[in-house]
Subunit: 405 residues, 2 copies
């Protein structure tokens, strides 16, 4: 008998038929004798509709009231899920985040979980009930309803699993697990049986949209092992856990391609202190999120000058070039160029730490395939290169073939 | 400066435009310096839609889970109403029933309010905020969400007014107040400036669908004076309060006609003890609500026999006659007749207590208009007669003209 926390997202509970399917799955675990805590999101579309109503009244509604409003979405799903379990003769009870003992700080719409008092949930489990908890929400110590922001239901599930010392935490979604590459692009991509937290974090930040980084960070911090799996079938998913020695045997866990970035280059920047600070302060002030930054060594005689390149999300490109254009007189740079037609190819794996020559092999593979490299950036467990968008998918397949197969 | 509790029903908050109208009205009171507590229902249609979802999953869903589900409807309205007040630069905050300190027993879907801890609401009012409270809901001492059943939002408003010692409690609805008769039938009907609790209770039970009896009973018990008025205009409404001496100067407060009853007559019932008990026990066991009961004195020679007539809601008529037919052998009655074409005409007024001859005047008026009386039933402040449905509206106009004008 295990204590299992299962989380189902908005599409998995998108209508009453799907809620019944969730109940059937939960009932199967319960029939095996497992104790089950089910964390649910709002039915898909519900949250957007509530936001629309609020914005009909006021463009920028109070965050405290938005929490009050949006928290109803998950509460609705909990009740319907409990009813669906009753229909299968499974004893079940729904709880709001507050009732489940989830205490947060008071930062409305993006509250942080401060602690969880799991007594109520434990008591209900011990009395033989399945406990359905509203994801994405909690309450402050003085009883205000809060929500946890994007990916909040995953966070609820992982935090509850930690507080309850659950044996298993399953994140049900509409994909089968984490793959070595996007299977729609790389036909030979394989589902990973397991992946280290740090690898998952790099993939999350690289646009493999399985989970928000902060849920993975929370799991890592509290050592919660979780499984990402599909609510549409019974296939085993991908276990996300602390890095083990055997994981290092695999050099590369996955290859990803982010097509949503654009590149800005500052050409002929005078090589003097403070220029980079000025540039990126101005971008930060404009709330533009900068990803990769590359600066080459200075060259030329006379006043030495250099080039600085950085990448931003495509929708921010126009804003970013405007910010830089405005800085032109102050910095004295020669030219600003922008390029939307780039792809960021990344290879991720904790095995890189103990295997030398990974970067060389990436570059060599790209060269053999006549793919030119624009920018390079590396971390301990990741190598990213910016390349021509047109060659992105070819390059991805080639690198995947070279390392994984 | 007064402390005012205002309650707005489902149609008054039926969409975001109407919620803005509610906010405008609340803001006007606030601008006068009043402290305002606003109790809101779910937006019209929302509750029905939630019930539909639940019934898609299971025909008879758990009452505990229905409370969890339905409570989201009012919570949604509170947040939207608070946002609408913010849009008018009025400081406002929403509270669930639980947050407002409304503690109930554990009878889900028809919980009774046990007590209200109004400290939180008082503190928020004292800090200058308008407080928006979700109607229809509360929580048990151990934190389960409950709902109060039909008319629950009125009850929330009246109970809060009592607990807060409010100066005024306004029930906003889609009618202008309580009338001496239905103005669609009686053109000379007048809006009553005031009415006694007991008169309001009689009218409520007679089908004048302004409010549920139990909210009026609660107001009477705790001496909460409230006003029924329209959310569509600024007309003063009807004040409902304890009977005063001057109220007795008016003989008749109102005339009502209930077209939704049907009559069953047991003809030739042997006049022996236990027959009535047997009959009405059988009807109660079949969950049929019996309204008027009339038994004439026995007549005839040999075995004395009598007739018993009673009225039921029209939808229950078939069931009622079947129950009686089944009793026929046991009771030994001669015949059962049923009549759907009846109307129950009632006149209500505390003034009856001190004015003699009211019943006589009613009967006389009906006789002058050639309206035959089938059944008569009286209470201390009410006279009801069952008459031919076809003559119902004429009779109503005649009696209204005789007593009121």
């Amino acid at each position: 008998m295990a204590l299992i926390v299962q989380k189902y997202g908005g599409t998995s509970v998108g209508n009453t038929e799907r809620i019944k399917n969730v109940a059937t799955r939960v009932a199967k675990y319960r029939a095996q004798g497992d104790q089950v805590v089910v964390v649910v999101s709002a039915m898909s579309g519900v949250t957007d509709n509530l936001i629309k109503l609020a914005k009909e009244i006021m463009p920028l509604p109070s965050e405290r009231e938005m929490d009050m409003l949006l928290a109803t979405g998950e509460q609705t799903t909990t009740a319907l899920t409990a009813i669906a379990l009753h229909a299968l003769n499974v004893d079940a009870v729904s709880l709001t985040g507050a009732q489940a003992g989830i205490v947060t700080d008071g930062v409305h719409t993006k509250a942080k979980i401060q602690n969880i008092t799991p007594k109520q949930v434990h008591d209900l489990l011990d009395s033989g009930k399945v406990v359905i908890v509203a994801g994405f929400q909690g309450q402050t110590p003085d009883g205000q309803i809060t929500t946890l922001g994007r990916g909040g239901s995953d966070l609820t599930a992982i935090a509850l699993a930690a507080a309850l010392k659950a044996d298993l935490c399953q994140i049900y979604t509409d994909v089968d697990g984490v793959y070595t590459a996007d299977p729609r692009i790389v036909k030979t991509a394989r589902k990973l049986p397991e992946i280290a937290y740090d690898e998952m974090l790099e993939l999350a930040s690289l646009g493999a949209k399985v989970m928000q980084s902060r849920s993975v960070e929370f799991a890592k911090k509290f050592g919660v092992i979780f499984e990402v799996r599909s609510s549409l079938n019974d296939n085993p998913g991908t276990i996300v856990k602390e890095e083990t020695r055997s994981m290092e045997d695999v050099v590369i866990r996955g290859v990803s391609l982010d097509k949503n970035q654009a590149k800005v280059t500052l050409v002929g920047v005078p090589d003097r202190p403070g220029v980079a600070a000025l540039t990126f302060k101005a971008l930060a002030d404009a709330a533009i999120n900068v990803d990769m930054i590359v600066q080459n060594v200075s060259h030329g005689t006379g006043t030495p000058s250099t080039d600085i390149s950085f990448t931003v999300d495509k929708p921010d490109l126009l804003k970013a070039t405007r910010v830089i254009e405005a800085l032109k007189p102050e910095i004295g740079l020669r030219e600003v160029t922008a390029d939307e037609n780039i792809g960021k190819l990344s290879v991720v794996g904790v095995g890189m730490r103990s295997h030398s020559g990974v970067a060389a092999k990436v570059f060599e593979t790209l060269a053999q395939n006549n793919v030119n490299i624009d920018m390079i950036s590396t971390s301990e467990i990741k190598i990213s290169v910016v390349i021509d968008l047109k060659r992105g998918e070819d390059a991805m397949r080639a690198v995947h073939a070279a390392f994984i197969g």
